[in-house]
């Protein structure tokens, strides 16, 4: 399979801070590849290196078959980049922003209109409005249109869905899915674990290191223990009570339940009986399928040497 990006041993420091520590990964052509991790994990630094805006201290990065440190002029023509912070000119209109980006890349809006028509049609009725006056969801659509207007082979999106409501986020991912037919490779970062399933493959990233790279399904399947959910009306009491039990390996709040793993990995009546003895009579315990976030937590625990009661 052809590789859109191949990275080996990339490291980057800012003073004493290690932003990226020996990062190696590859992205296949035409895939949607996600970097999932919290603020400060190194996602933006890595994207700035891929887009030739920053030089690594160590390691090699090949992008679209070119060296990101020496072939940057040619590469930039082939990359569309949507930075995390709003990248548009606030005092230009929607239409002016789009024309500006097309002109900078030596093309016209008409030439590549087909590529953006699906996305741009949502904001075209407001084309005379200043970009600074658009809602979050509309800004995001305009920024994506501007990043696509020169028909890049590689699209880099840095947290495109942060601060955008759930409906617009879902629409945005649908749009990315539709770009597949143009054979554009998409690399996207997000702190939202639930967006991982929208990617073909994801890398979990934390403290400048990649914890795991795989398909979302395989990452979930990598969870090494049986997972149980425990529910009760008194959540805070439930967590504290669970933590006191030596049979419990981990207990974390997850939405309306507590996710629990057990030292001996088998559920019997003893946990339920223990909770009743401790005054929690309404507990409901069920086996559950682990999600991406469960696996991320497990990998972080291994990394930090946390084995019990974080």
């Amino acid at each position: 399979m052809l590789k859109a990006v191949e990275s080996s041993g990339i490291s980057k420091k800012f003073g004493p801070t290690i932003a990226l520590d020996n990062i190696s990964f590859s992205v296949n052509e035409s895939e949607i590849f996600g970097f999932i991790g919290p603020d400060g994990a190194g996602k933006t630094t890595l994207f700035r290196i891929i887009t030739t805006l920053l030089l690594p201290d160590e390691g090699e990065m090949s992008v679209l078959g070119m060296d990101s440190t020496t072939d940057y002029k040619e590469l930039r023509k082939n990359i569309g980049y949507m930075p995390g912070r709003f990248s548009l000119y606030q005092d230009l209109s929607v239409e002016e922003n789009l024309n500006f980006f097309a002109t900078v890349f030596g093309t016209t809006v008409e030439e590549n209109y087909e590529l953006i028509s699906d996305i741009y049609s949502h904001i075209e009725p407001f084309k005379k409005r200043l970009a600074g006056k658009l809602s979050g969801g509309m800004k995001q659509k305009l920024a994506l249109s501007c990043a696509l207007i020169h028909k890049p082979r590689l699209l880099i999106l840095d947290e495109p869905t942060t601060g955008v409501d759930a409906v617009s986020r879902s629409e945005f991912w649908d749009m990315l899915g539709k770009l597949r037919k143009y054979n554009i490779t998409i690399i996207v970062s997000t702190p939202y674990m639930d967006e991982a399933i929208r990617c073909d493959r994801v890398a979990l990233i934390q403290n400048g290191e990649i914890l795991s790279i795989d398909t979302p399904q395989n990452i979930k399947a990598g969870f090494s223990r049986k997972l149980f959910t425990v529910k009760s009306a008194e959540k805070y009491k439930l967590i504290k009570t669970l933590r006191k039990n030596p049979e419990i390996l981990t207990a974390y709040p997850f939405g309306d339940s507590i996710h629990v793993t057990l030292n001996n990995n088998t559920l019997d009546n003893s946990l339920y009986e223990y909770l009743v003895r401790e005054g929690i009579g309404d507990a409901v315990i069920m086996e559950a399928e682990a999600g991406i976030e469960d696996r991320f937590l497990e990998l972080m625990e291994k990394d930090n040497g946390i084995t019990n009661k974080a």
């Binding site: 409501d165 639930d194 805070y236 709040p253 625990e301 930090n304 974080a310």
Partner: protein
């Protein structure tokens, strides 16, 4: 949970001819974790500004922590806390300076601020960070401190805007534990978020659309009602009906 701390009846807020809040009615109870959801532009910020005494309603009855939202906005401000992901602490002040500053703003006595400072540093195992600049703290620690500062003056209600966006999964879990702990002391948590995973942690949620509340119930009952497996699905079904 029948002790009402926020009561809103027929709240209307207009800006010129635009109606941002269109006849809202709801109640929030002491010790409740209440999720206030809606799409961008649905009118949530307008409501929160009114509930925090920063804006006066056009009409309707609004009472927050026992005070009237028209005539007692200063008392409302003393009884609430606020934390958001983007800005809560002064980056170029140290941990200690931030705590002293906020304590002063909330009108706490010097001795009480001193007491809370020691308590807080011990609770967060923060002693070694006392004289560090906020800008030097890792994001997870910053967020824990921001929450502690928001409840420094033991407010009746704390407003949280996307409180765990962008933090790592372990910090997120620890954060929700401290929210549960805070709620168990009778403080109300009023959460706004675009992150539907966060909504799942709430006792009840409301969903706003076009200035109106279109749903209000426990996450479990809403999921049943809309035949959905997650709050996200519920939200997508009703937040912006086509």
């Amino acid at each position: 949970m029948n002790n009402t701390v926020i009561s809103v009846h027929n709240l209307v807020k207009k800006f010129g001819s635009f109606t941002a809040n269109d006849n809202l009615s709801f109640e929030v109870y002491a010790g409740e974790i209440f999720g206030f959801l809606g799409a961008n532009g649905a009118g949530k910020t307008t409501t929160i500004r009114i509930l925090s005494g920063l804006s006066i309603p056009t009409s309707g009855e609004v009472n927050v922590a026992g005070f009237d939202a028209y005539s007692q906005t200063e008392q409302i401000k003393k009884n609430i806390g606020y934390m958001c992901q983007k800005f809560s602490l002064y980056e170029d002040l140290t941990v200690k300076e931030n705590i002293i500053l906020y304590g002063g703003i909330y009108g706490m006595s010097k001795s009480l601020i001193r007491e809370r400072l020691i308590e807080l540093l011990a609770k967060l195992r923060f002693q070694e960070y006392e004289n560090r600049m906020i800008s030097d703290l890792p994001p997870g620690l910053r967020q824990k401190l921001a929450f502690s500062v928001a409840v420094l003056h033991e407010p009746k209600i704390v407003f949280l805007d996307e409180p765990t966006g962008g933090v790592d999964p372990i910090t997120r879990r620890q954060f929700w534990e401290s929210i549960y702990e805070t709620a168990s002391r009778g403080i109300t948590l009023f959460v706004t978020t675009h992150y539907m995973d966060e909504a799942e942690y709430c006792d009840r949620i409301s969903i706003m659309n076009d200035g109106k509340i279109v749903a209000l119930d426990t996450p479990e009952r809403l999921k049943k009602q809309y035949n959905a497996t997650s709050v996200e699905e519920v939200f997508i079904k009703i937040a912006r009906p086509v």
